[in-house]
Each structure stands twice: as C-alpha cells, then as structure tokens.
Assembly symmetry: C2
Homo-oligomer: 403 residues x 2
C-alpha cells in the first residue's frame, strides 16, 4: 500500500468511526447475536439472530409443547399467531391492522395472491404481467397460476411496466426491489398505473420490507407478499406473509382454502365458508416453532422507525460505494445497483469476473455477502446491525483480494 | 363404589400393570418428555415432545443460525433437509427412499397431490371422488383443486368407494383413518379399485402414519400426504410430507412449482424445469426450525417396528374399551370406533351427551383427549408413550364423571 492509499484508508476508517459514533441506530446491534470478527452483509438472504429468539424457542418447545401440549393452541396463543404476527409486521410495510396474515412460504403466498388476484379482476381480462427480471420463483408460480386461472404470462421490464398495463391486464406482479441488481421500483407510480387500467397490483416485498418504507395502504396496493427471513430476521425459512387490502377482503377467494381460513374451523363443516379479514389467507395448521421464533425476532423492531432505517441504509450503501471506489482498482468491479437513491434498495451488487471465487475469498476473510449467478457479488446492508466500519472493512477486504 | 365394582377396578388395575410389565415398547416412553400426572390421549392431535428436540432446536438457533448464518444452508444440511427427513419418514409408511419430501402444510400438499394427480390421469376424466366423511380441509382443498383443474367433486362413502370409482374418475382422495370415528379404511382394496379403473389414488395418512403399517409401495398407492405432528411427534404445525410414487415422478407436475423444486435452483433461470424425484414436490424455502425439530423428533422411532406399534395400539384400544364398559354405566357412551381390528385405527371415539363439557372435566382431572363436534370424545392411543395403566385411569376417570 502506497503512502497515498494508506492515507485514503486512514481517512475512510476515521470517517467510518465518526459515522458510527453519530449513528442513532448503532445501539440496535445489541439486539442481535452476531459471530465475532465477521462482517455480515448477507442479511438480505438470511437475517442475523435477534437476541430473544433462543429463549422464546426454548420456552415454546419445553413448556408450551412439552408441558401444556394440546392446550397451548389456546393458552399459548398458537391459534391466533398468524394474525397477531401479521399485525406486528403491518406497520413495517405501511399496513393498518387486520390485513396481513403470516404462514406458508413466499411461493405459496404468491400463488394465493395471483389466483386470488385474478379472481378480483374484471372477467375477460387475459394477461398476467410479470417482472421480467423477477426472482425466479415468482415467475414459476406465475406460470402455474396463469395456467390454472386461464391467463397468459407477459414478461415486462418494470421500467416499462406502466405503459404495458392495459385493459386486458388482469394482474401485475412486480418485485419492489430486484434481488439481483438491488434496483428499487416505483411502487406508487406502478400501482397507480395498474389501478388506472383496472388491473390488480401484486407486490413482492422480499427485498424491501424492513429496509425501506413500503406504504402499502398509502399507495393503495391490492395484494402483497414477502418473506420474513431477510430484513425481518425471522430465521431460516421463517413463514412468509400475505397482505390483502381491506377493500378486497370480502371478495378475495384463495385457491388454497384450508381449514384454518374457514369462518368456523372447529365446526368442521363440509362446506367451505371463508373467514372475514386476512384470516381467509390462512391454509393449514401454522408452523408454530418457526412462527413464534419470528414473533420474538420482530421485537428487534421495537421503537424503530422504518424511515430512520432507510436513511441509514442509503448512507451505508453510499459509503460502501465510496470505499469500493477508493480500494478497488478501477475497472475491476462495476456496480449494477442504481446510484440514485430513489432507485436503490438496501444492497450493492457489483459485477466482476470470477464472482463466485471472489465471494468465496471474501467469506474466507470474514466478509459474508453472496454470489448471484453469473457474475454478481451481492452485499446487503441491514441497518439494524451493520455499521459504517463494517462497510469500510468489506470494501477494503475486496480491495485486498484484487490487489 | 360397591364391593363388586371395587373388585372390578382392582382386577383391571392389576391387569394393566401386568400388561405394562410385559410390554416391550414400554421403555420407549423414556424417549419423551411428558408432564407429571397427566394421561395424554391426544397424541393424535399433537404428539408429545421427544427428548432430543430441545437440544437440537437450541443448536439450530444458537449455532447453525446465530453463528454459521447463511453458511448453514450447506454446512448444516439445511438445503437437503426436505428429502433427508422424507427418507426418515419413508420406512414408517412403507416407502422406499426417494419418494417422500417434507415441507408445507398437509393442506398445501393435498393441493399438489390433487392437481398433480389430475394431470397424471387420462385426459377427459371429469370426477374427483372425495371421502364424504373427510377431515374438512381435504374437502375444501379438493373443491378448489377441482375448480382449477376442471373436475367435479363427487362425495363418496369410503365403504362404497370401490363401486363408485369408474372410467370417468380422474382422482380418488381418501383418508386412511377417519379423524372422527377412528375407522380404518381398506387402503389395499381401494387403491386396487382405483388402479383397475385407471384412476389416481391419493391417500391422506394423517391419522394412520406412525400408528399402523401403511404399505404405500406394497399397495401401489399413487400419491399420499400426511402431517407429522400427530403420531410422528414432530411438534405443533410441523411440516407435512408428500409421497410421489417413483413410477409417477417424471410425469408429476406440481401446481406449486417454486424454486426449491427446480432442477437447478441456484441457476435462477426464468424457465421452470422440475427436479428429478420427489424434490419436484418442493415449493419455497423450507421452514428450518420446525423441520429440524421434526428430524430430531423422528429419532424416537429408532429401532421401532411399526408392526409392533400396531399390535400394542390394538391391545391398548381393546383394553380401553373393556375398561370403559366396566366403569361407565351402560347407555351413557357409545363407541363409534369399529370393534373389528381390521377396521380400527389407533383411537377410540365415544359418542355421548354434553361431550364438550365431559371432555373439559376429563382434562381438569388430568386425562387429556379431545372433543370433536358435535358429540364425540376422542381418545388417541400412541403406543410409543401411552401404557395400559393410562388406559385404565382414563376409563376410570370417565366413569367417575358419569358416576
């Protein structure tokens, strides 16, 4: 390292320390258990472990299941967990209570939203517009939903989606933040375009919920789904959620009308009668261990405003990009994440040669991000537990690998 | 209590003690954590807590998630858990390896089996035959599957199902053991009848798996589903499983083709290509906390033959019925569970007036069964941890309530 580059590094480290010292969210890191010596920039794939989860899980297993047994469905609040936890997620995505229900995987919830959404659309519409750069499962599930609901999938670039939505469009499925590039799509404008055309807007919030304000109610989104194991830190494969806007609930017909979504499930009647509210999005028996771990995990959000998280996220990704520019020789990496704040999620994706090997080397040096085929290094910035010194170290380590 | 009835009680207690002393499975109770002083006859709703689950769950949370973080998808075997645990369940239901995959709820797996089954059937067939006494979710999901797949649901009494299956039948959905009455249906004969008519046989094993031999492969069942939280003791809402017979796997098309069922999930290609084998029954990211709790729970089955479990189950339910006849004044309860062994599952259902209140009183006295509307007291006998003294005490307590 030359004197000049040593000066640059010293400057960036000093600035990182100052930014961390001034960061009002920095103390939230105490709410998580993180391994020593690791910079964890993969919270957009699997969020870190919140401090209260271990004790909750131990209690759920030993006391609620082991001692109370079947009585816990009532006494430990198991039966009502999907709605209760949904209401705990709701403020993070700008939803009033009673519209979010937790359970099943994101893929399964997408299926409910797409088939249920098609049934909300005016009869005769034939198109299901799907984000052409979507996370794959959305596209696969959309194809299946379209086949079963008699629609045709039309891939669409979200940047051009507003013009593509027409009077023949039943449903539009878009990702709020692109999983690969980190591009943030214009949810308010695209939802408004769908509404203007009479189409149902379904948003996948996997890469935005918990990282930035979503504003589902404010922007009159129709249906939305998301996972809880990224920025919401619910744990590996934690149950996903489904948002059904209040105005659609009475008409929403799930293609997966399991007994948990019945108006009177323990009457065990042969005919299905959907429950009122978001409950009709439930299917089978909820996965209690994972669900109550998620509930405990969400305590990490107590008193945290998503707007503050967003401000820190942008500052972190700005600073990381600046450090990368300083540490990595020009031309070796290229950011595919938009520079404009209004088009950036909470990650930075760098395109490079040999990305798989580079990420392996980063992980070996204690900087955990992830690789997305064919050539992307993906770094997720989770403001609840990632700081500016982490961003500096990650960029510096990347520079060393290229040096 | 008169001298005569005191003699009868003494005799039954002596016999119970002798039966427990001679029971080779009695020592398996040590593999479970059960509350003191409770007779637990609701393992057919929520199985008891196996001893190893708490330690496994604590490790999954603290080390696998908290320390290893994203690396656990490979290093802790998370990614391959659905097939690995499926293969652990397989011998309990008579399936060779590679045909059972764990994940999602029973209701969701039913949907896969019914729509996927309809696609396996010859084109032009229009009927979906469904057990008329089915657990409700099966009927609800069948209606939805039929609507989407262009079939018509035809309710059928399983006792008459063999005659009802005809050349117009695409799929037959039956419960192996009726959840309310405990009646065991003739899986071999009904599956053969479906095969003879060219229909696809789908079995719901929720109330038989882990209680009696199922013999899926031997009887050439096509598709099957089951939960894991009853006789398999996987925990509240533990993931369910889907069995896809090897001969159907290449043609099986899931209506829920999530990215986990893709042949090359991390290639993240826009086009869906189903994985080989039971893996194509996977949908979204597996629910790891619940799934690995289930895996640990299944250790309770190490070295246990389902045939021995079945023999003890029948002896337990016989003895319970004998005790009920001795302790409960005649005419106050009526068993709706078949007396013949070949038609009995692993529960005894007693019809009585005020069944809800009677069950509440039993639970208050430490005998936990459950109530099924409108008039059934349901007692499940789980041979891994229920003994003959439990059966005697349960019947005696019931007698006291009526006395």
């Amino acid at each position: 390292m030359s004197d000049t580059s040593a000066d640059i590094a010293a400057d960036l480290r000093t600035r990182a320390a100052a930014l961390d010292a001034a960061d009002e969210l920095a103390k939230l890191r105490e709410r998580f258990t993180l391994p020593e010596g690791v910079v964890y920039l993969d919270g957009n794939s699997l969020g870190a472990l919140p401090a209260g989860v271990a004790a909750t899980t131990a209690d759920v297993v030993a006391r609620q299941w082991g001692e109370l047994l079947i009585r816990s469905w009532d006494e430990s609040g198991w039966w009502t967990a999907p709605e209760r936890i949904g209401d705990k997620i709701a403020p993070l995505i700008g939803a009033a209570p009673g519209q979010v229900v937790v359970g099943d995987s994101t893929s399964v919830n997408l299926f409910k939203a797409l088939v249920g959404g098609a049934r909300l659309a005016a009869p005769g519409r034939t198109k299901l517009l799907v984000d052409s750069a979507t996370f794959p499962t959305d596209g696969y599930i959309a194809q299946s939903a379209a086949r079963l609901a008699g629609l045709t999938v039309v891939p669409v670039d979200p940047a051009q989606a507003a013009e593509a939505i027409d009077a023949d469009t039943a449903v539009v499925l878009l990702n709020h933040v692109d999983y690969r590039s980190g591009r943030l799509h214009d949810l308010p404008a695209l939802t408004a375009a769908a509404r203007a055309a009479g189409a149902v807007a379904v948003w996948d919030l996997c890469h935005s919920a918990g990282a930035l304000p979503v504003g589902l109610d404010a922007h009159e989104v129709d249906l939305a789904v998301g996972c809880t194991y990224k920025y919401l830190n619910g744990g590996p494969g934690a149950p996903a959620y489904l948002y059904i806007a209040a105005r659609h609930q009475d008409a929403f017909e799930s293609p997966l009308p399991g007994w948990n979504g019945h108006a009177d499930p323990f009457a065990m009647t042969p005919a299905y009668e959907a429950a009122r509210g978001a409950t009709r999005g439930r299917v089978g028996t909820p996965d209690i261990l994972s669900m109550l771990a998620l509930e405990a995990a969400l305590d990490a959000w107590d008193g945290v405003a998503v707007e503050a998280v967003r401000a820190k996220s942008l500052a972190l990704t700005d600073f990381f990009l600046e450090c990368v520019a300083a540490y990595v020789p020009q031309g070796l990496v290229e950011s595919v994440t938009p520079a404009e704040h209004e088009r950036r999620g909470s990650q930075v994706s760098l395109r490079t040669e040999n990305a798989r090997e580079v990420m392996g080397e980063l992980i070996a040096r204690g900087v955990i991000g992830d690789f997305r085929a064919p050539d992307v290094l993906r770094f997720g910035f989770t403001p609840l537990y990632v700081g500016f010194a982490d961003a500096e170290r990650a960029a510096r380590t990347l520079g060393h690998i290229f040096g």
